[in-house]
Structure formats: structure tokens, C-alpha cells
């Protein structure tokens, strides 16, 4: 990760057509948005495993895993929105433009904030796990729609996606390297944070068991 940060600022060339140093932000903004998607997909998969797998003591772990993934996903999605807004300010003068991609990520934030609200509203562990898992699985349907389909409709201020219609790489090799490195770095970061969070959750649960 450290190498990525250094490379983002010194090694990669500036993208053409971007104001000043602002394109550097891409190396963080894009991977963060991508990782938030990975996080929510992870949450969805873990939720599905909880709901449809055979019921064993491993269940609670799956539920904790899904919840942890959503928490971290929300962090990354928020960061992605903020970095995107900063960049928008630099490029076009205002933080918010109701660009479909910006709107998409906001709705995603709302969706998973609602997930947290749902968890708060249910006291019973088993019911909480089951219902939030259902909502998490529904997210597998809604999220791809919000991340990928909705932004394609209508005019967008977002630059062309990296791989455009002809399938050719439009981005300079160095930029691409840093971008990919950054993405993998952030992904690893996510999994590391996720496993930490799951372990914390497991310890808390065990503490609760012992107290009773």
C-alpha cells in the first residue's frame, strides 16, 4: 500500500485533460468504489450462506461476517463518494452534479445504512441475523444495478470507464499499473479489516456467552 501511495504521486504520469494534480485522486477514488462493491457482494454471499446453508453453530459467524462486510463497505463507499465529490469540485466547480454514478453510490449508501438501521431495530439475535441476511441477499440484486446499470443510462460527467466499448485499454500503461496495484492493495486491506472485525465480533459474542 505504501508503494501504491508513493507511486500515485510520483511515478504515474498525469492524465491528459485533467486539471493539475487532481487525477491523482483517481488512484484512490476508483479502487475505493470498487472495494465497496466487493464488500457488499461479500456481505450478500455470506448472507446467502447463512440463510440457505444447513443450520450449524457456524451460522453466527456467517452473520457476523456479513455485518462486518457491510460496515467496512459503508466506510469505503463513503470515502469513494467524498473523494469523488472533491474531484468534482476541482474539475467542474461543484461538489455535486447529480451525475448518475454519484446518485448511484448515494442510493447504495442509503441501502446499507438501512441495513444497519434494520439490525438496530431487532433485539433477538436469531431474528436479527435472519432478516438482515435476507436484506443482504436482496442487496446482491440491487447493488449491481446501482453500481453498473444505472450509471450507464443518461449522460454522465464521469470519464469513460477504463475499458471502453471496443475493449481497448484507453489508459496509459503506468496509470493502469498504479490503478490495478491500488485496487489490489485496497482489496487486501478490505479482507484484512474484515477478518479483524469478524474476530472482534466473535470475541464479543463469546464474552456475552460466558457472562450468562
Amino acid at each position: 500500500m505504501a508503494a501504491v501511495i508513493w507511486a500515485a504521486f510520483h511515478w504515474a504520469p498525469l492524465a491528459a485533460g485533467f486539471k493539475g494534480e487532481s487525477s491523482r485522486i483517481l488512484f484512490f477514488h476508483v479502487p475505493m468504489a470498487w472495494v465497496s462493491f466487493v464488500a457488499f457482494m461479500t456481505a450478500g454471499v455470506q448472507s446467502a450462506r447463512y440463510l440457505f446453508g444447513s443450520r450449524t453453530p457456524q451460522d453466527a459467524q456467517l452473520d457476523r461476517s456479513a455485518a462486518a462486510a457491510v460496515e467496512i463497505g459503508l466506510v469505503f463507499a463513503t470515502l469513494a463518494t467524498v473523494t469523488g465529490a472533491i474531484w468534482a469540485r476541482i474539475m467542474w466547480g461543484s461538489y455535486w452534479n447529480w451525475d448518475p454514478r454519484q446518485s448511484g453510490i448515494v442510493v447504495v449508501l442509503l441501502y446499507y445504512a438501512a441495513y444497519e438501521a434494520l439490525r438496530q431495530a431487532i433485539a433477538d439475535e436469531e431474528v436479527r441475523a435472519r432478516l438482515s441476511a435476507a436484506y443482504g441477499v436482496l442487496g446482491l440484486v440491487v447493488s449491481p444495478f446501482l453500481y453498473f446499470v444505472l450509471p450507464r443510462l443518461g449522460f454522465s460527467l464521469h470519464p469513460e470507464p477504463v475499458i471502453n466499448a471496443q475493449g481497448k485499454m484507453e489508459v496509459e500503461a503506468r496509470m493502469l499499473t498504479v490503478l490495478l496495484a491500488s485496487s489490489s492493495g485496497f482489496t487486501v486491506l478490505f479482507y484484512w479489516m474484515h477478518s479483524l472485525r469478524c474476530r472482534l465480533g466473535a470475541i464479543a459474542a463469546r464474552r456475552l456467552e460466558e457472562e450468562n
Binding site: 438501512a114 431495530a121 431474528v127 435472519r130 441477499v137 440491487v142
Partner: protein, 225 residues
């Protein structure tokens, strides 16, 4: 237990409508809200239909917002009421989950259809709308209506077992319905003006299908421990 699935779903559908017709609660809430808002809007906006471009900008958004809020206030009752009045216990013991869901969904779909049957013609009349492609307009209404129905059936089932069901429903329904509504507005707008809205309509139908299928898959787990 020797019942067949369709008979069970039909029984739930019939029971919901029978109860509804005796109280007329949902129908009254929906109609009152929708008609009042439409009339107020038309008083303020006047016969916007005379300026087709302006009408295309304003009216679809307005109509869909009205449909959304009417539905959100009148429909979550489907499951929330069952839980709150504890009739859900008997329903859980006696009925197969997928049949219960199908019956409830059918009930809500018919309610939404009835709502749209009131709102759409009224909007056309009050705003003096010229609809370029009536068929596409109806299709947009149908597809968007299905999204609203699916969301207001499935999501209350999730929130009904938690505290503060009504407010929680609003929080949860919004992100799920926003994409559908954006597409429905776009498709309706296209139909009003007469340009091609096929893409939006297709995507909307796909979204509908995905949500309904997800609903059937998820409901048994939501309904029973």
C-alpha cells in the same frame, strides 16, 4: 396436509381482499392521498398538457411520486398488520410460505393496479395531457407498479418483525425503489413525448423480475425461523 399451492395462494388472496373490503382501509388511504395530491397539484400547475415539453418534465415525476407515497402509506399493512395483531401466528402454522407470499403479492398488485387506474386517467384529465404512445405509457405504469408492489410486499415482511416497523419500512424501501422509479419516470416521459423508451422499460422489467424472484427465494427464510 393435502392442499395444493395455488389453492393456498388463492385463499390468502381472497382473505386479504375480504378483510380489505370490509374495512376499506387501504383503498381509502390510497385513493384519498392520491386524489387529493393530484387535485392540489393540478390547481397549482394548471393544464400543463398544453405545453407538451413542460408537461413531460413535470407530470411523470409528479405522478410517480404520488403513487410511491400513496403506496408507502397504505400498503405495508399487508404484513405489518399481521404481525402486530398476531394473526401471523396462525398463518405461519397453517400456510406454506411461498403460497402466503404469492397471495399477498397478488393482493398488493391488484391494489396498486386499482390505484393506478384512478390516478392515471385523472392525471390525464386534470393536466390535459397528450399521451403520444398510450401503449408504452400503460406499459411503464404496469412495470413501475409491479416494482412498487413487489417492494411493498417483501420489505414489510422484513421490517414487521422489528421495532418501529413503519418508519423502518420507509428507510428500507427508498433505496430499493429509487432505481425502479427513476426508470419508470424515464419510460413514462418517453411515452408521453413519443420517443423510444424501450431501454428503460426493459431494464425496469428486469429489475422487477429480479426483485420478485428474490422475494420468492427469501420469503420462506424471512417468514419462518
Amino acid at each position: 396436509m393435502s392442499s395444493n399451492w395455488a389453492a393456498e395462494a388463492a385463499a390468502v388472496f381472497a382473505k386479504d381482499w375480504r378483510c380489505e373490503l370490509r374495512t376499506r382501509h387501504a383503498v381509502a388511504t390510497l385513493a384519498l392521498f392520491a386524489v387529493t395530491t393530484l387535485v392540489v397539484a393540478s390547481l397549482v400547475l394548471g393544464p400543463v398538457g398544453n405545453e407538451p415539453a413542460r408537461a413531460a418534465q413535470i407530470v411523470p415525476v409528479l405522478v410517480w411520486l404520488i403513487l410511491l407515497f400513496a403506496a408507502a402509506s397504505g400498503l405495508p399493512r399487508a404484513f405489518v398488520h399481521e404481525e402486530e395483531s398476531r394473526t401471523a401466528i396462525a398463518l405461519r402454522l397453517a400456510g406454506r410460505p411461498s403460497a402466503v407470499f404469492a397471495g399477498k403479492l397478488a393482493h398488493v398488485v391488484t391494489l396498486v393496479a386499482a390505484l393506478e387506474a384512478i390516478v392515471a386517467p385523472l392525471a390525464v384529465v386534470l393536466f390535459d395531457l397528450r399521451v403520444a404512445d398510450g401503449f408504452a405509457f400503460a406499459a411503464a405504469l404496469g412495470a413501475g407498479g409491479l416494482a412498487i408492489a413487489a417492494a411493498t410486499t417483501l420489505l414489510p415482511a422484513i421490517v414487521a418483525q422489528g421495532r418501529g416497523a413503519s418508519t423502518l419500512f420507509a428507510v428500507i424501501a427508498l433505496p430499493v425503489l429509487l432505481p425502479a422509479l427513476a426508470l419508470a419516470v424515464a419510460a413514462s416521459r418517453a411515452a408521453l413525448v413519443g420517443i423510444a423508451g424501450g431501454d428503460e422499460l426493459t431494464l425496469l422489467l428486469l429489475y422487477d423480475g429480479a426483485v420478485v424472484v428474490a422475494g420468492f427465494l427469501l420469503f420462506p427464510a424471512i417468514w419462518n425461523p
